[in-house]
Amino acid sequence: MEGPRRRERIERGIKVRSDSVYALSSLEDLCYLAAPRVLLVAGLLLMPLFLAPLPYWNRVALSACVLAFLALSFDFLANHAGLLCLGGAFLYGVGAYAAALLNAELGLPVALSIPLGTVLGALFCTLAILPCLSLRGIYFALVTLMYPLLMSRLIEATGALGGTEGFRGIDGFGSRWVEEYALIGVLLAATFGLRRFVTEPAGLVIQAVKDDDQAVRAAGISVTWCRTKAVFVASLSGCFAGAYYVHMYQSVGVSAFALDLSILPIAAVVIGGPGTLLGAVLGSLLLVPLGELLRDFGSLRIAAYALILTVVVVLRSEGLLPFFARKYHQLERWTEV
């Protein structure tokens, strides 16, 4: 054998250039940068076509997209706004009930009940979480963990909103293509919209709050107001998931506040790459089908999610997306030491 070697990583030249503010000109450079994004967009857009012969897996893919919204909302809140929200199910459930009420009770068509349900639900969530915004770290996590539980217990105990039975008779989408492309379209818009948002001034301020809330206050900006905005944005994403899902399965019940809905998005985010938002989507698209393969094993599914989650957290892994990004942007070679 030759002498000791080590693997050396070199950044591709174009990566270095594109990191600074200088504009890129050559077509080749543009293709290089756009390729991963185009791949994702095209993949999502073509998915319903590929999966048409596999109707069940098509539905699973849709569930994965729904979950991606929750993962996006968790990722945004936790890794950009610094609010560890363990109650994703709360956002989801509120969105679900809001859309269901609008559609079944007020008779609004699907095209109205989903957007209205999303916005009204997000308002409700924001108002509900508002009092907790002065809480930090673990306290916020604890209270948000309680919220979905409190909601489901309240609905069960009072029998309001259909009580334990929930209610049915909610409109479906009519066409399969509308159902699928509406979801995929909104998912793409939400993902890239959020990625854009965090680089806008308002998004930067929210990120700054996570780094140092006191310094933000010293800059004359109300931290509570920033967090309120962040919660609202995250709620929009979470509530949309619920609102959409209600129409997908045409029924709603207290299980819209189930624990799974809080834990799965977290796993998706941690595995996909925290803080990248795209990673959240990637994680959901991987985890949900994986869980589906485990469906026959009942509760082993949740245990498997949790186990993966633990391992990834303990190894302090960067997540899949940053890993792939690094591989994409770097050349590797062996060098003599």
Binding site: E200, P201, Q207, K210, V216, R217, A218, A219, G220, I221
Partner: protein, 261 residues
Amino acid sequence: MDRGVSDEPLLVVSGLSRRFGGVVALDGVDLSVRAGEVLGIIGPNGSGKSTLVNCISGFVRPTGGSVRFRGRAITHLAPHRVAALGLTRTFQTLRPFHRLPAYQNLVVPLSSPRVRRLEGGRGRGHRGERDAQAIDILEELGFERDSRVPYQVASQLPTGHLKRLELARCIALRPQVILCDEIFSGLSPSEIASLVPLLGKLTEQGIALVMIEHRLRALFQVAGRVMALDRGRKIVEGGPRAVVEHPAVREAYLGLEEVPS
């Protein structure tokens, strides 16, 4: 005041007190600063200097006394409201937004309601325009425009740059009073030397500075007036020389190496 120069003091603090449990951190401190003036505050460790800054800027609620800024009582205002009125501060420990590049650190104050208002409420403003503004301010503070420094993530910057970034963040807010909490500490003499004229430039613009310092030699280059704190009380106030030679100050500082004689 935005309208013009006046002899009225910008900031008047009277009888400010703060107790933490049984410990008296501040005990009836008075001070006042006019536009363009630099007030130095010295005192041994634990004399209540930082608490004073915290109380004035609203981060800690005083237990007694009052703070008036431009004739308006701001004693119990939340910190961001105080800052929005034009009174801001630096932090003793470095607190950059460490995940953001240096210039984006300034985007935070630049997109605050105060700056938007001062710019005539031109709405959200252009992203590029705001970035350009940030880079302009950084250049004034010695971040070379064409180097990579302004684009580097804050967590990778050296202490000297972070100190200046801290100040830049205050300046971006276009304040009338800046409370500086030990901005010279941890800097090399050459770095301090480059910072001093900058502070002079700020006072020329009519900004009042309240500087808490241990580096007395540097402080006396900029401060026209100095007050000394000990155990939460003001012991003396006046010209730098007079204060340093005051026996009570010398006693309080005994053992501290940097007392110029």
